[in-house]
């Protein structure tokens, strides 16, 4: 029997669970340390950048999965939140003269949260494909605003380049680009990723997280249990938007140039792609998905001109064979399977 509910098993189950938890924490700690030391040990700027890129999108995919994996809504408008995060940073820096990284990140999360609240409020009543297309349409309107430079903030499709933010009053932005990235910014992203993981792990196991799952599993029952489901869908959109906005904000500095392309629906599609590839039914799947997607794309680009075909084929096969399990869930199932066989023999 599974030991999901330690209070129901005997004390041994409880201890086992504790051990398991420790193991996970231990694994997480080791991984964190390894990632933190990687740039310093290898001095490989390319890998550092690649990892920074992956980690930003891992945060985005994790945030996105709150809505798809937990609340059960397929949003095709998450580019709006990612792009809002990016634009908030670049506009705050270039127009308002704010240069402190922490302030910028907080602002970006707030701005994305507001956009999430607006898009959410308009769309949470709808379902499935309608929800997907409504979020897509609303996000696309935001894209039009940015591409058309309405309000004169975004400078149209050529976008805006941005400089490097400082940190707590330390003028770290004066460091050369690769030192800034390898010695500082990479670690900021790393900390943000692990903080996101920790916060989401907690939140999704809280009564709030259970409520989102209730809505996903059976809306009628959730409502008949006294849950205001529209409100909770909205909450999940806002929470998701804030995390995706954080990812966008972090990423803006990595890429150094913000264009409306990051608000386009194809960007939303990429985030969906990542979450699915890794497995929306699992907590860590989206992280694996973001890594898989970016590495796959880089490899496919290097190997063939027909990388669209390659990506399409992978998406097709993964979706058909693994569905909500994704790569991560599939791998876990495989390991379980092997373990069982070993136990049998």
């Amino acid at each position: 029997m599974s030991t999901r509910l330690p209070t129901f098993g005997d004390m041994k189950a409880q201890e086992l669970k504790g051990l398991l938890l420790d193991k996970r924490l231990l694994g997480g700690g080791v991984l964190f340390a390894a990632l933190a030391l990687y740039p310093g040990l290898t001095m490989n700027a390319y890998h550092t950048r690649l990892l920074a890129w992956i980690m930003c999108f891992a945060i985005a995919a994790l945030g996105f999965n709150i809505v798809l994996g937990y609340t059960g809504l397929l949003s095709f408008g998450h580019a709006a939140f990612f792009g809002t995060g990016m634009y908030t940073v670049v506009i705050a820096m270039e127009s308002a003269g704010i240069t402190d990284l922490i302030v910028l990140l907080v602002l970006a999360m707030l701005a994305a949260g507001v956009v999430g609240a607006v898009i959410g409020a308009l769309s949470v009543k709808t379902h499935e494909i309608y929800f997907a297309l409504l979020t897509l349409a609303l996000a696309q309107l935001l894209y039009v605003l940015a591409a058309r430079d309405v309000g004169g903030l975004t400078r149209g499709t050529d976008g805006i380049g941005l400089s490097r933010p400082d940190f707590l009053g330390i003028p770290i932005s004066e460091a050369p680009a690769h030192i800034y990235l390898m010695g500082f910014y990479y670690h900021v992203i790393l900390v943000c990723l692990f903080a996101t993981i920790a916060v989401l792990w907690l939140v999704l196991r809280s009564p709030f997280g259970l409520t989102l799952k209730m809505i996903r599993e059976n809306e009628t029952r959730a409502e008949m249990s006294g849950v205001p489901i529209l409100r909770y869908r909205l909450y999940s959109m806002v929470l998701s938007a804030m995390i995706v906005g954080l990812a966008g904000a972090l990423y803006a500095v990595v890429v150094g140039h913000v264009t409306p392309e990051y608000l386009d629906w194809t960007m939303s599609g990429e985030i969906v792609f990542m979450a699915l590839l890794g497995g929306i039914g699992t907590f860590l799947g989206p992280i694996i998905g973001a890594s898989g997607f970016i590495i796959l794309q880089e490899v496919a680009l290097g190997v063939t001109t027909y990388w669209h075909f390659t990506m399409g084929l992978v998406l097709f096969v993964v979706v058909l064979t693994l569905r909500e399990k994704g790569i991560w869930g599939g791998a876990k199932a495989l390991v379980d399977d092997l373990n069982e066989r070993r136990d049998d023999s």
């Binding site: 997907a132 349409a137 075909f309």
Partner: protein, 302 residues
């Protein structure tokens, strides 16, 4: 506004509506009857465009007869795609019928990416236009419509769209295939239990739907250019059409195509600044105020 420009804009709107109809009617049928959300549907519109450009440009050596060229566009190309899609239905698309909509969308997005590169592999990335000598739209020239000169070819395309819509309607109300399809859209399992070979119906409906998309692409290309961008543009447009019309409704597709066609045509003519926002704005408004679309509660042909 002067009456001539009113007429011309209406004509433009009708023509665009005809193209939208071709691109999206199959999408809504496949969804309504077979319960498959095929994002790759519009890719067949793009494919039809490329096949047509290629056919017309190679036909020049054999014939430049307008009738023969039009027959190729209207009959031969859809027929070829019909056969191709029957094969695809049995292979690539077969497993998709079993999975949830979300996964259907994503898997068929994968199909778009693949078709994209197939087109690039065969025809390259440059925009291709139809040669003047074999371009029926140039051969036919203009006709006079209530004092306004309009393209004869584009009028022909509008007529084909009307014929196609009427034909589909008759198919659904008169033929056995149509009646079974309607029943399937209401209760798939019931039809299965009646001992009807649903797989055969599925192949037929899927292939007809895809062939209409290809027909649209083929008809579209003499008056435009085949580029890799066509597919993605029509993916979004066709989804906008079927969502505004209501998923699974034939009437909805017709009405929504007309609405988008007209709003866009007059919008561009008189409020050019709004162009980028028109379709998405319309789609958002409809979903917000009528989430099931204009005719979403109804069956295929009600």
């Amino acid at each position: 506004m002067p009456i001539e420009s009113l007429l011309v804009n209406t004509f433009n709107g009708l023509y665009f509506a005809a193209l939208l109809f071709f691109a999206s009617v199959g999408l809504t049928l496949v969804f309504g009857i077979l319960n498959l959300l095929n994002m790759a549907h519009a890719a067949f519109y793009g494919l039809g465009a490329y096949v047509a450009v290629w056919t017309l440009n190679n036909a020049g050596d054999v014939t430049t007869s307008t009738v023969v060229l039009l027959a190729m566009l209207v009959l031969v190309i859809p027929l070829v795609v019909f056969v191709l899609s029957a094969v695809l239905d049995k292979t690539v698309f077969a497993p998709l019928y079993e999975i949830e909509h979300v996964y259907q969308l994503l898997a068929t997005f994968g199909v778009i990416l693949m078709l994209d590169d197939v087109i690039k592999f065969i025809w390259g990335a440059s925009p291709i236009t139809v040669d003047g000598a074999t371009d029926p739209s140039r051969q036919l020239g203009a006709i006079d419509l209530m004092g306004v000169s309009v393209s004869a070819y584009r009028s022909f395309v509008i007529l084909i769209a009307v014929a196609c819509a009427v034909g589909l309607y008759l198919m659904f109300v008169k033929t056995k295939l149509g009646k079974i399809s309607q029943a399937m859209s209401e209760d798939y399992e019931m039809v299965q239990m009646l001992g009807i070979n649903v797989n055969r119906v599925r192949v037929l409906i899927f292939s007809i739907s895809v062939a209409i998309a290809a027909l649209g692409g083929a008809l579209f290309v003499p008056f435009a250019t085949a580029t890799p961008a066509v597919t993605l543009e029509y993916v979004l447009l066709s989804f906008a059409v079927i969502v505004i019309g209501g998923l699974g409704s034939l009437k909805g597709v017709v009405v929504a195509a007309l609405v988008i066609g007209m709003v866009r045509s007059f919008g561009i003519a008189y409020f050019p600044a709004l162009e980028l926002a028109i379709v998405f704005g319309l789609m958002a408004l409809v979903i917000i105020f009528k989430p099931e679309g204009l005719f979403g509660d109804e069956g295929v042909v009600e």
